[in-house]
Point group: C2
Chain length 417, copies 2
Amino acid sequence: MTSKADIRMRGFLKRTAVKTLLSLIMKHSQQLSAEEIPTVEACGRVLVQDIVSPANVPNFDRSAMDGYALDAESTFGASEYNPLMFQVVGQVTPGESYQERIQPGEALSIMTGGPLPKGTNAVLMAEHAERDGDQIQVLEAVAPGKHVGQIGEDVKQNQILLKKGRCLRPQDIAVLASVGLSRVEVVRKPVVELLITGNELLKPGAQPSGVHIIDSNSVMLTPLIERDGAVLKAVHQLPDERALIRQHLRDSTADLICMTGGTSVGIEDHGPTLVEELGELLVHGIPMRPAAPTGFGLIAGTSAEKRKKVFLLPGNPVSCLSAYDYFVGRALRLMGGRSAEWPYRTKMVKLATKISSEIGRIEYVRLRIEDVQAFLIAAGGASILSSTTLADGFLLTEEDSEGYAEGEEVQVWLYDA
Amino acid sequence: MTSKADIRMRGFLKRTAVKTLLSLIMKHSQQLSAEEIPTVEACGRVLVQDIVSPANVPNFDRSAMDGYALDAESTFGASEYNPLMFQVVGQVTPGESYQERIQPGEALSIMTGGPLPKGTNAVLMAEHAERDGDQIQVLEAVAPGKHVGQIGEDVKQNQILLKKGRCLRPQDIAVLASVGLSRVEVVRKPVVELLITGNELLKPGAQPSGVHIIDSNSVMLTPLIERDGAVLKAVHQLPDERALIRQHLRDSTADLICMTGGTSVGIEDHGPTLVEELGELLVHGIPMRPAAPTGFGLIAGTSAEKRKKVFLLPGNPVSCLSAYDYFVGRALRLMGGRSAEWPYRTKMVKLATKISSEIGRIEYVRLRIEDVQAFLIAAGGASILSSTTLADGFLLTEEDSEGYAEGEEVQVWLYDA
């Protein structure tokens, strides 16, 4: 729907196939620019470039055992029948360094992680030496390099440590810290604004009263937006006033706006026409149930990156959940440099109930799962949010399918990560 | 090892089986007490009691369609051949209420979500009425209740909404907000303190220098502790000074302390003897590689809940990671009322390399995965943290197994959630 004419009260003349919407999202959700942040805060963030190590880890030869550092060659010939005596000239623990050169026939007591002194190239395990005062009997020969962790054994200077596009794990930021990289360049987080529209809505925290209901959509979307790596900058609860909604759509400096409510084809549904007026309405109306009145558009800004994405999400909470989850979350993950894939676990289950679906339409089906059996949640309307709390997971029917027979094996997505 | 004698430099005389450590963790990781927090912040938190709804949602009969609210009985007999005329007496949108009673032969224009006025019990879809000025022609009879979302259709007053023990999802907190529950009682988060010991360590953010290395363990553990639902209250980087470490262990008000470094049987390893001195050292030394010098103990406090758990984690980063992940994370999840299960996805893979393991020992094996083939990461030492960044996942060998043959199918845990 790219016509400039008012589409209200005409119904969805032409719905956009869901796969078309998905490819439009893919096309318009380019990775955002970079920002530099402290490495210790970078877990879960995405690298914008390969990281080359500026240092060796460790930057000295270190002992991998508690024992004695010595010159391996001077132990050659040692055996139980021919023990060799070494003079223990001191001790070194991690964080210390022993300055003197160790001579053949001398040994230095060393703890795991301690730096090998000059003149040594191996460590004899404590268990393999008989200590007697400041002397040890060496009962077997030690090979050069034995129990020595060499310079760069963990990380070598100039080695590529981590590649561009990497979503950093706890151990990744630990490695970055260990080479002394205190800051790191990552994809910046998408900034999101929520416009929650509807005269009937009260803010979360209020009591439902008379014909007013609580805005539950902002409560639900907030943790989902965070899950998808974005920053929720503001939530605006707005009445169905065209000028006010227009102003918020136009003036927002967010990367992405989710507008809930006012997105269908009723007389109070200002969303689609406003997006059309301020920018480009790429999609309005999709063959998905619930969530048919979903829309997607762009509102131009001052730079390519500031072309705001606008998602129009139905106000009914199940529609809102499914449309956020299938479309908006994907856009946010792509903008943040992540995989578009859903962050849900999957499970193969056997349907205890037949599921019907019209060809050409995708159904968001909520299921209760007992062991490997899946039961349809009966109360399935777009407004029945409790259906998603009763459910353990969901599936989306295929667009070209009439549904699934009882007993059929299907893959479901589990709500609990 | 519960002997009060100094265990340093004697080696691990008796290791505790890993399954024994796991059951001790299970036994001592009781769920913490409750706290009341705002519902909008409760995603991911665990309910301490069943939640009963104080309200109906909606609390009025509402229209599920754009159309006309009317008395169903007065449409009986209507058909294309016998259209009935109704007077449209006004309009109601969501958030408004229409005060007058609608009489038979009258209709009220109504938008989806709008409250049904008195005298009506059904909604005729806009598409099924021919409008002509302030009159409509009704072309088919409407059944009572048609397109009406009745009081309590989503949630009924006094219904159990969510059960005790529930880890709250985004849609759960939305439902709680919708019934007007602005606060909710959840299990409080475990409070954790990190004691990072080692004279050789520099704080993260510094450059490695000379024989000093960066403490990377605190960097790695911070996001893992958060992942497991706990609050990291403080990170103390301490030298290997017995009195200082003792003071921190004794005075900490955390629920759980992770001490890294100084946990083995060397002369600088103060952890185990200090726990023994201040409380009870339940486990020291396990047949797991790396992570053999892992310990677990309790230090008494002022209340049952304040009996601090102390985990002694090896300073070598791979050991630290595996011991945190297998033991500490589990304790934290249980204390927070969650499932003990690992928050990693699993995958079945085919081993491209044989994996050897000693009977009686568990190996933490890091694997690189290409499609469904898994390759052993060769650099496997406890100090080689980069082995965990090269790996895509890991497996733990079975205690009673000699390992796995090349080509064998095994289940691995994927680092990326």
